[in-house]
Point group: C2
Chain length 81, copies 2
Amino acid sequence: MIFIVQRKVMPLKDLLDPQGKAVMGGLQNLGLQNISDVRIGKHIDLQVEADSKEAALATADDAAKKLLANPVMEVYEITVS
Amino acid sequence: MIFIVQRKVMPLKDLLDPQGKAVMGGLQNLGLQNISDVRIGKHIDLQVEADSKEAALATADDAAKKLLANPVMEVYEITVS
């Protein structure tokens, strides 16, 4: 079976997010004054062939640890659909 | 009230996603052969001050159209929490 695993990788809350700050500045220049914070991360969709949802999740978690997220600077969430 | 608006911006399905292809190659080199496709997009969290959920959603949609997504190449989804 093929599962779509969605992964959201965001910079840690305590760290400065320069990309988000730049976008917030841009939005405020465009007149959207009521946006008080912007944080930008990555969204990764993996198409995984696995026997079960659990196996797909394990593969995705493995991928995350090996390549897709840097635990020193980022947090990640995984959802399977 | 302050709402957190989450926005997911992904490249259109019909377009090639070179970043995703590169990551897929990397994962396969690491021995994860059962991943058949990877697509990478952006995840943007906006902190919006608004009177209601609908107003927050409207602001986020406005921001998306003005700055955050390129409709020629990307699709986006918005959720408010």
